[in-house]
């Protein structure tokens, strides 16, 4: 049978080639184009945030911790040589290089956030089960990291906080040293793109490129070469458009790398590497209740719980994780619980298209940038709409992602503390619109992430507060519509998330930014 199949394939494929080309060219005029990253206009911030060098940092105590070589004056031979080199590079710039420069100039922090989201989506694939010779099932992570929502939240947080600290330090040097941009020194230089009116040493772009590349390469070691090539392209783009000379770039690059070492040092000791172990339960008194009902391959045992000890990971903004714990969920034999279960069942049997749409819009499951990524996406749109400076963009993402990572930590603590079964575990007739995440039900991770994320964004974008709050509530409710959470999981989750987000808002209010 197999040979017959092969024969048919070979026989027909030569025909397809001829026919598909002929017909498609004749009638449809060629093929569709590949999808590429969205284009945006060059970033021209409403404010340059000139006091940014004094804002409070998170990884370093103060920008003075960072030592940079004293730059040469613009009159020096050294500087003049760099200026000539820059002009030479500009004159041989290709169209492709200009397009690359436009890509980065539309918002460097935003672009690296986009890149991080794409990497998270690429790595958000649950490890496959392997049944060993002893009959036992294991789940080796072959393509580390498995970027599930808590792991993703950690990546976004370290990237954003490191970018923010690097830019505070950059702003500090920029306004201390006050080196003018090349076109202000030599009026024959016309930058190919609009450049923000900032002192040029060190380059904020090279600081962002270096810190982002190093932090992401720490989390995605197999992507190192790709990330390094992006960072090089990013840094060179500023010379090619006439925004910076080489010493601006190298200073930003060293600064970014120094900050990245601080971020990586914290990441190595935040408890995530041990907390990620899937074989131990942090709360041994909860051995009943929730059970995994996910069987990845025939004959395998159920997939173990995701990140049972994530509640122990070091937080950014929350002083005491246990204090964020909500009241217990209703007991399984209570009227309140039975009513909540009946509601999930009723939705599962009568799910409307609109409920399905909402469940799908917020699902952000495997292969996507996760719910933390969704809130980064929402923030990105607001940041662009408000033309924030690179520094203020980084601050927004830092506050957002510290809150969201903390939300994940607190929520995972709650999940394994109360160990509540999913609705379908109690009533297998409940059908879902989306896969059931492999951890206990109470409280909803989506709801907690969303409560925290929206609270931070409501503080930063007060005119959008009503819409953001509505989005968080919808994200929470989407899990009920999906049939995978009780209403109380979502409502309590979003409530806890808001409390967690409030800790980040306190930090934001006190960071010295106007």
């Amino acid at each position: 049978m197999k040979r017959f199949t092969e024969y048919i394939k070979n026989f027909t494929s030569s025909w397809f080639l001829i026919l598909s080309c002929a017909i498609s060219i004749a009638i449809f005029n060629g093929c569709k184009e590949e999808i590429s990253a969205p284009n945006y206009a060059t970033l021209l911030p409403v404010s340059n945030d000139t006091t940014g060098g004094t804002w409070k940092t998170y990884l370093i105590t103060s920008p003075d911790e960072i030592k940079l070589p004293g730059p040469s004056t613009t009159l020096s031979t050294e500087y003049q040589t760099e200026l000539i080199a820059m002009k030479k590079a500009m004159s041989s710039r290709t169209i492709e290089q200009l397009n690359q420069a436009k890509y980065w100039a539309s918002g460097a922090v935003l672009r690296w956030n986009e890149i991080a989201r794409k990497l998270v989506a690429k790595y958000n694939v649950a490890p496959s089960a392997v049944i060993g010779a002893d009959g036992k099932t294991s789940y080796p992570v072959l393509n580390a990291p498995f970027a599930n929502p808590p792991i993703a939240s950690r990546i976004y947080a370290y990237l954003s906080v490191a970018q923010y600290d690097a830019l505070v330090a950059t702003w500090n040097f920029k306004y201390k040293i006050n080196r003018p941009a090349p076109n202000l020194i030599d009026n024959t230089i016309i930058p190919a793109l609009d450049i923000p009116k900032l002192p040029s040493y060190p380059s904020e772009h090279s600081a962002i490129a270096a810190v982002s590349c190093e932090v992401l390469a720490f989390f995605f070691p197999s992507e190192k070469d790709y990330l390094v090539s992006l960072a090089m392209q990013h840094e060179e783009s500023r010379i090619l458009i006439g925004a910076n000379v080489m010493s601006d770039i190298t200073a930003g690059d060293s600064l970014g790398k120094l900050i990245s070492t601080k971020a990586i040092a914290r990441a190595k000791t935040d408890g995530a590497s041990t907390a990620g172990k899937e074989d131990t339960l942090y709360y041994p008194h909860r051995t009943d209740g929730w059970k995994s009902i996910e069987i990845p391959i025939s004959g395998a045992s159920e997939r173990p719980a995701m990140l049972p000890t994530w509640g122990k990971v070091k937080t950014w903004t929350v002083p005491d994780v246990e204090k964020e714990r909500p009241v217990p969920p209703p007991a399984l034999n209570s009227i309140e619980y039975k009513t909540a279960l009946a509601e999930v069942k009723s939705i599962s049997e009568n799910r409307t298209r609109e409920q399905w749409r909402i469940a799908d819009y917020w699902a952000d499951g495997g292969g996507t940038f996760t719910p933390p990524g969704k809130w980064n996406y929402i923030a990105s749109n607001l940041i662009r709409k408000n033309n924030m400076s690179e520094l203020r963009t980084a601050r927004t993402f830092a506050l957002l992602n510290m809150a969201i990572m903390d939300a994940g930590i607190c929520c995972w603590d709650v999940k394994y503390y109360y160990y509540l079964p999913r609705p379908s575990q109690i009533d297998p007739s409940i059908k879902t619109s989306t896969g059931i995440p492999n951890f206990p039900s109470y409280t909803s991770g989506h709801a907690t992430f969303s409560g925290a994320g929206s609270t931070v964004l409501e503080y930063i974008f007060p005119s959008e507060a009503a819409s953001l709050k509505a989005q968080a509530d919808e994200a929470a409710l989407s899990r009920l519509y999906g049939g995978i959470h009780y209403r109380f999981d979502n409502e309590t989750g979003v409530f806890c998330g808001r409390n967690i987000g409030a800790h980040a808002v306190i930090l934001g209010r006190a960071d010295g930014s106007p």
Binding site: M1, T5, I8, T12, I23, S24, S298, W362, G367, K431
Partner: protein, 297 residues
Amino acid sequence: MRKIFLVFLIFLTPLITKSQGLIDGFMRGAGKGVVALSYSSENYKNFYKGTTLVSEPNLGTITTQSISLFAAVGLLNQLDIVASLPYITASPSQGTLSSQSAMQDIAIALKWKPIELKIENIGTVSGIVSAGVSTPMSEYVADAAVAVGHHFSSGDVRVLGNFMTDFGLFASVQAGYNRRGDVNLDHVTLDGTMKTTVPDAVDISTKIGFGTSEYYIDAWIQNQTSRGGTDIGNTDASFPSNGVSFSRIGFTGYYPLPLFDRMFGVSISGSNTLDGRNVGNSTRFSVGLVYGLTLWK
């Protein structure tokens, strides 16, 4: 030459090129029509994830059942209009994922026979071209593991060559190109849009059979090849963006019922998947009630 009065039923599955099943080598004749109501059941336990055959215990066997309405009318002796509309239910046997049911896509095609060469005492060679469109008739879910379809509109052109002997044996080859429109998704993709493209598809099939004015039987083999597309499990790949390809083999039979002046008949058809990409390794069975009528003379 004996006139073949037929008909065959629709190989409509949610995921395949629709017009392939609509077009055959025979014309109705001006004023003649046929209406058919069919029931189909297709199921698979294993599916091609990319080109690797896998199963998914959290889905089990996926069964897709459909009720389809099919109609064909000869506008002129050399011009037919054909249409189909299925109502589909898809459900998994295991796990928690929900079943879905919906009116799927209407497909309409015009079929024209510009070439007909009679060879004395041997048979007839004919050439047929067709152009068709299909579009969703309800807001069913486009992007789900268990789905009734992928909710895109498409345009389809195809050519068909048919040779039929005077005693009823025939053979035909057809090739088509299916151009597919974008799909609106319920969620945001990595590119910040809520849309995805659907890869176009090319298909080719060949068929041999025997038909008289009453009975009909054929056997066919079909290959659809997607022009690019993602694979199941790729980063950010929605199901509609998957490249769906397959080779299938099948048969069709028709038998007139000895009632009402033999205006009614029963058709049966079956098919089996030989190979594929991002498609179920499925077996399909259909049974239909066919009514032939004369609308004008």
